[in-house]
Structure formats: C-alpha cells, structure tokens
Assembly symmetry: C2
Homo-oligomer: 285 residues x 2
C-alpha cells in the first residue's frame, strides 16, 4: 500500500491503474477510521479493482466555532487499518496541497443544503461538495462510497453528481453501529463515559419511530413525539433537530406516505451527533 | 463526422477514443460558428487526436432580459463547417438532455465574476462555469479551447479548473478579427449595416490604448480617456464599461505596471459587444 501526499503522485497512480484497464473505487474520509469506514472500504474492494482512501480533514467544511482543531487525527493507526483491508493507496494531502491559493470556486447544491444540518452549519455542505469535487477530479474514480449515517450528505452528493454529470457512481452504504446501536462516528471520541452511556438513546428513539410507522402511525408530529420521549430519558441529550423529510427534496413531511428520512442531530456535551433511518409506510411489517 | 445528441452516446464515443489511447480536444460553443470558432477547432486539431465541438445554447447563462430566444442558430451550416475542419464529433444536446430536472447544483467562481461583464450580467458566469463543468464531465477532454475575445470568461474558467483540480488544460486562443478589426462574434449578426460600419471603433479604441501604453502612458485614467475619445466618433456606440484590470484578480488598476487587461463592453443597437487586449508596460516598442 502506498501513501501519496501530492496531487501529481495521485494522478500518476490513477493513470497507471487506468492504463491497465482497472476500475477505481474511492472512499473519501477525514481519517480517524472506524468500523463504518472499513465497511465502505470492503464494499469498494468488492466493486472495484483498485481502492483509494483519502484522508483529509477539510478545513472548508468546518464553521469558525466548530471542531477543526480538535478533530481526531491518527495517521499511523489509519494506515495500519487500510493496510489490513488491502487498500491500494491512501491519498493524504496537506491543506496547502489542496488549497494552494485562496479558493474562489465553490460547488453549491442549493435548497437541499439549507435543511437539516444546513440550518446550524452554514457553509458546511458547500465545503463538502467543493472538496468532493476536487477529490473526484484528482482520483477520477468509477465509484465513490459514502455512509448512510451522513444521510443528508449522501443525498447532496448524489444530486451534485447527477446535476453536474460527474462520471462516477455514488454508492451509499448502511450505517455501521456499535452493539448498543450507537452509529459509528469519529466524533464519538468526544463523549465522556456517562455521555457514551446515554448516546444509544438516539438510535433507540429512531427504532421506536420505525416501530410506530410499522404499526401504522402516519402523523409526523406523533412520530416526533415518540422520538422526543425516548431522548428525554437522558438529561445530557439536547436535540438540535428531529426532522421527517422527503428523500429527494429533504422538505418536511406533514404525513408519512411512502419513503421518508427520519433524521436527528443532538448535542451530547461537546459532541454533536447525527443519525437517521429511512422508513417506508408502504412496507408494513 | 458524427453528431451526437445524448450524453450516453457522447460518453460511449469518449470511452472508445480513450480505449485507443487517443487524446481529446474540446471546443465548447453556442453554435453560429464563425472564423473565431474555426481557429479554436484548428488549434484543437493540432494539439489532440480527436476533436469534439459542442453546440449548445445554454439557457442558464442568459439573464431574463437577454437574447436567449434571438441567439442565432444554424445547425446545418455549423455541421458543414465542422465537417470541413475534420471535426470528429459534434455534441449537440437538447436543453432537456442537459437539464433533465431542476438544476440545484451551481459552480461559482467568486470575486472574478462580480467584475466587468459580471456587473451587468448577474448569474451569467455562474451559468457558464456550471455548463462548462457539465460538458467537461461528459466529454472528459485533455484540452479545452476558449477565445481571448471572451477574456473574462477565459480567466474565470482557468481559475475554476485550477481551484477544482479539473483534469484538463485550458488553451486560450487569440481573438480572430474581421479585416477592419471587429472581433468575430455570433452577435455581430444583430448589427444593422450602419452599426456594422461603426463597430470597428471598439477595436480601434483598444489599439489606440495600446499605442498610448507603448508610448509610456501609465495612468489608466488617461488611457481610458483615449478610448472614450475614439468611441465618441460614433453616436451609436454606448459604452457599458471601459476597464483596465489586473490579469489575475480583474481588479481595476490605478496605474499600468506590467501586464494589464483592457476590456470594453458596449451596446450598439440591440447588440452588446465585448472586446479586449492585453498590454504589457514592461515591453515597450
């Protein structure tokens, strides 16, 4: 496995793979790899001949009061995990390599990015879509792999790829969870032991919402109340939003008909955690 | 020569060329091809194995009061010109093929697009950069060719390609002029015979500006006065802007030191014409 730090090296690696007729799978990450990332890598290994993992804590997707400095970084551990998964190359550029001059060009997906996390994180998705465009242009993958945990991000990226005719396919992989249901996240490291004990309530509340929908509840207000009552079991959890939205537009739904995304963001101490599930009112158990 | 109208056909054509190890040169146009476009095509033929010309009057770069409907279209004549130049493929998609659903994703180059033509054409460059991104993603060229006549556009596109690490090289080709100096433009068709007689004053004023700089004039105010006095020879010409700007930032310069872009936009009846030259205070005649 090679660790490449310059765009030029990365392009040469890709040219070489292409000239051998190999397909390229790409897993963009901010490092601090956990089992969720590893599931993306495994899916990439299945679908493509060569797998590239990028490790880049992208400054343009962090707001001024967010955790850019604190964000966990552990390149040696990440390299070992990638080696174990038989990743072909890590792309780990410095910030100056990715942003050598003032960045004037931004890719923005309107409307979808104003909702859910976009409300409290202005500019976040613009940073994500811009850096993904840059990385896609450097790695030129056939497939790029994203986790359903960042559900809004997956929908935004898929829309960007469609609108801009980007020559790759986005593959969204199921959320990987701890045995107690907590969605894997690099930000789980911020939790104190007490907060960690309460954190699974987020998924527990989503599971309760799914049960309610499966039992015929169609009112989003009622489903939200179910979620709120579960989250209220912890005094540490401060919900930022609980939204039940259309999967294409991310607009809030008054009633659940067909598929819907139920998404939560909550503060737990210094950690801001997100999780979501997709429910389908047409396939009751 | 093939004329392709779907993205799928275009992608298949590109895949085929690539699999034969051929380089691809791309000339994006809005059709109504004139000698300026043909010079881009010839440059593309020199530099690349396969040449693709797109013909697409892109609605997203026209303002609501602009000439989208009136813009000249003549596919049969354009095809004949491309055939004569041994173009390999024309990509001529319908609007629905390029924008099959509401376009939510925009590529925007900040700052550079607020200046010069950006002042009177809000949203124009956002439309240009977005459609060029789409076309680049579809055609996946090694080189794309733009004319210096649209000087701000060339600078904006080059910055976009650099900022977003797009895997292609932008080649900017000299402005092609009528024997009397008028820059070739599809919009010259809007001119009445009388306006056509006055139109060369735009380039004449730029040539006078170059002479002044060559003779040591460094004050942009003085150079602008020279331009204005030439343009005033016609009562039909209404200047929209006369700007002397930095080649990288497009910011207005108080003094000419080193290279500068001298750019003019002017109305002549219903036609809005633009032209520009690059001067260099360090290489006096």
């Amino acid at each position: 496995m090679r660790t490449l730090t310059t765009i030029e090296e990365m392009r040469a690696f890709v040219r070489d793979a292409r000239s051998q007729g190999k397909s390229i799978g790409f897993v963009p990450t901010m490092g601090a790899l956990h089992a969720g990332h590893l599931s993306l890598i495994r899916r990439a290994k299945e679908k493509s001949d060569v797998v590239v993992v990028s490790i880049f804590v992208n400054p343009t997707q962090f707001g001024p009061s967010e955790d850019l400095e604190a964000y966990p970084r552990d390149m040696a551990a990440d390299q070992q995990k990638c080696r174990d998964e038989q990743v072909d190359a890590i792309f780990a550029p410095a910030v100056n390599e990715m942003y050598p001059q003032e960045n004037l060009t931004w890719v923005n997906v309107e409307s979808l990015t104003d909702k859910l996390c976009g409300r409290s994180r202005p500019g976040h998705f613009r940073g994500v879509t811009t850096v993904c465009t840059k990385l896609f242009n450097i790695v030129q993958p056939d497939y790029a792999f994203f986790g359903q945990k960042d559900g809004q991000q997956a929908i935004v990226i898929k829309r960007m790829v469609a609108d801009l005719n980007m020559p790759l396919q986005i593959v969204v992989c199921d959320t990987v969870r701890e045995p107690d249901g907590l969605a894997m996240s690099s930000r789980n490291k911020y939790l104190t032991p007490e907060q960690r004990q309460d954190a699974p309530l987020i998924y527990k509340s989503l599971a309760a919402a799914r049960d309610a929908v499966d039992q015929g509840e169609r009112s989003t207000e009622k489903v939200k109340q179910t979620i709120q009552s579960v989250l209220a079991e912890s005094q540490e959890i401060e919900p930022e939003y609980i939204n039940i939205v259309d999967l294409d537009t991310l607009s809030e739904l008054p009633q659940i008909q067909g598929k819907a995304l139920i998404a939560i963001a909550a503060k737990l101490g210094t950690a801001r955690l997100i999780d979501n599930i997709i429910v389908d009112a047409n396939t009751q158990k």
